[in-house]
């Protein structure tokens, strides 16, 4: 009995010893991201890195709905399962103040990241607090909300004629929110099982907020002053009210039951031939060009978020930056990977594989802009994006925003002014609670 116990123990320690020595021989970096195509592209890029350096890159993924929860559960436990994480832009506050991300300010300055990447991407994916000059990430997957539309419906001569007779101008890709709304109304024909437009309405996390932001920012409104945390008079300004009313009007031209829609449903609106236009993140557009996933692939076109009544034109930011996790055992190796990742030739490859690079030189190149039908719209958008609050309590702000806005947009309860006044009140109370304002 004693003999067998000793031999088992010896066996275990031998296995452990072998395990650690094998581990030390081939180094590995684990990157955590959500489960979608860009993660596969990053894995392919990682394979190239392994060929060059011998350091293995493993991209671990989890479904989007689970991504935030799983990442923060790991951070909160100070776990070392992930060396790097491609985190959402809103996480910056929580992850930097919580000490979960490694400070990359010196790295950013040393390697001229500010000159290499589009300004807005550094500002929103890397810097926290806004304007502080402290950086926590390297822009990785640029993303914003754009639009897809049915080219065949738009180009149909009969439709063009009918549209001109009704609205007095040519039916074309909308340049303004007014045109967007007109076209949505024009194509909204419930008896033909055709609807005007698909927008985000999901009352969870950032679904609805991302959609509303598209209208809000283009109307010249803001969510608040990100430096002073002042919200009253900004998030409920007249421009914001008009923008929200416009969003509510767009909702009237959505397919029936469009009350829980986010990126999956909005792509379905195009693949199922339900809607003339559909908002979505650029990252989900590749599948709309794939004939095996979209029977209308040949007839699908893309455009950037249109301008508001005063000519302002912005879009809600999606996308992520890559950060080093403070609890990783391989921080040095992770730094080396980032050095390689920001090289111009790597960024070029990243774009070729299907990643949405934030590298200025690549974005501005003819080759990139002509590579797909949506790259040009992406390029135009990435220089005029704005984002939600990135403070650690951003999820509370999102919840309060949803709670107030959803009943107005989807169920038509109350007015836009009432909803936004309530948001301003909630946010003010939250900022007071966390000592950001007196």
């Amino acid at each position: 009995m004693r003999m067998s116990l000793t031999s088992i123990l010896a066996g275990i320690s031998l296995a452990l010893a072998c395990g650690t020595s094998v581990h030390a021989q081939d180094k590995q970096l684990t990157i955590f991201w959500a489960e979608w195509d860009p993660s596969n592209y990053l894995q392919e890029l990682g394979n190239l890195y392994e060929k060059e350096t011998g350091v293995k890159i493993v991209v671990e993924t989890t479904p989007w709905a689970d991504f935030q929860t799983k990442a923060f559960a790991e951070f909160n436990a100070h776990g070392n399962a992930y060396d790097l994480v491609v985190g959402d832009s809103q996480w910056l506050g929580a992850a930097s103040e919580g000490g979960h991300y490694v400070d990359l300010t010196d790295f950013v300055k040393e390697h001229n990241v500010l000159d290499k990447m589009a300004e807005a991407t550094v500002k929103y994916y890397a810097e926290y607090p806004g304007g502080s000059g402290k950086y926590w990430a390297i822009p990785t997957e640029g993303d914003a909300v754009g639009w897809s539309y049915r080219k065949d419906w738009f180009e149909d001569p009969k439709e063009k004629e009918a549209f001109k007779a009704k609205y007095g101008y040519e039916l074309d890709v909308p340049k303004t929110f007014k045109e967007l709304t007109d076209i949505a109304e024009f194509f909204h024909r419930p008896d033909e099982n055709r609807y005007g437009i698909a927008i985000y309405t999901q009352n969870q996390y950032d679904g609805l907020a991302m959609g509303v932001e598209n209208a809000l920012f283009s109307y010249g409104a803001e969510l608040g002053d990100y430096a002073t945390y002042k919200v009253d008079g900004i998030v409920n300004s007249d421009k914001a009210v008009a923008a929200l009313e416009n969003y509510r009007k767009l909702y009237e031209f959505t397919p029936p039951g469009w009350t829980n829609a986010f990126f999956v449903e909005n792509n379905q609106a195009i693949t199922e031939g339900l809607a003339a236009m559909s908002m979505n993140y650029f990252a989900f557009f590749p599948s709309l060009l794939n004939e095996s996933t979209n029977p209308n692939a040949k007839n699908t076109g893309f455009f950037a978020n249109p301008a508001g009544p005063d000519g302002d034109q912005f879009a809600a930011l999606g996308g992520q930056g890559i950060s080093i996790v403070s609890y990783s055992d391989n921080k040095e190796e992770a730094m080396k990977f980032l050095e390689w990742f920001i090289r111009d030739d790597t960024q070029q490859k990243w774009a070729e594989l299907g990643g949405y690079t934030c590298n200025k030189a690549v974005l501005e190149s003819e080759a990139f802009q002509n590579a797909t039908p949506y790259n040009k719209a992406f390029y135009e958008t990435m220089f005029k994006v704005k984002d939600f609050w990135a403070v650690p309590e951003y999820a509370e702000l999102l919840q309060q925003f949803n709670q107030r806005i959803y009943p107005f947009v989807v169920n038509g309860q109350g007015t836009a002014k009432e909803a936004l006044d309530a948001v301003a009140g909630d946010w003010e109370a939250t900022f007071k609670k966390y000592g950001r304002v007196q």
């Binding site: 929860t69 951070f75 919580g98 397919p255 029936p256 829980n260 199922e272 919840q399 009943p407 989807v410």
Partner: protein
Amino acid sequence: MATAVMTTLDPKSRAASRGMSDLAIRNLFIIPTILFLIVFNIFPLAYSLGYSFTDFRASTNAPANFVGLQNYRDLLNDPYIWNNFAVTAKYVIISVVGQVVVGFGTAMLLNRDIPFKGLITTLLLLPMMLSMAVVGLFWKLLYDPSWGVINWALGLGKFEWLGDPRMALYAVAITDIWMWAPFVMLLSLAGLSAVPKHLYEAAAIDRAGPFYTFFRITLPLVAPILMIAIIFRTMEAFKTFDLAYVLSTQPSTEVIAIRLYKMAFQEWQTGRSCALAYIVLIMVLAITNIYVKYLNKVKER
């Protein structure tokens, strides 16, 4: 006899032949279970009670500050939380009543000699064996106003089951009834088949009507087991999450478990969500207690 089996070991058993005493065997089985309970249930329960009086956030490294009853006060003053409770109560009532009516009714229909009775019972039990999240995703497609099978089959046109804020909660409850009525049916069937046949014969001889027979014989005799089914289903419905979360994002379907999940794991308000969890726990305990009291009364009869 039974106690003898419990306390002494069969001398021919393998354990006895290895020289283990019955006390050692007992400890071997019970101590790990108790340890497991203490580490994974009792300890977190007590620990989270402590957190519920602080402003702790798991997502930051900031230390937790004691705030007294602030979390409880804020939660009980929040009209949205009250709305979550109202939605939950409504959902529990609709869903449990529906399951009892459908489940017990089906059991009554099946409690007779019909061909393929075993096969029919098995098929009826299938919904219960599926995963909640998968059922939610399927029913979301079935309810879809544009291509859903339900509107097509019932000829309802573009009726918005999940889109209409007044209808959404019923739609979620219908899915829950579809899934869990078989559970009530199964327990009722067990209760029904245990009712002695001679009682029905006596009732028939006395020319008792079908209603009289049902309310005076069937229901009282099945009541205890039916109560158990109701307790289980009420507790489950009270903490329901998956179905409502997958099917709809209408505020009218935001049950308390969804709010709790968002507060704890999206907003990382750990202290406050612990307080909310305690409020929910106290409510579930109270409701269960009432049921158990009633169950004992029914049994005494």
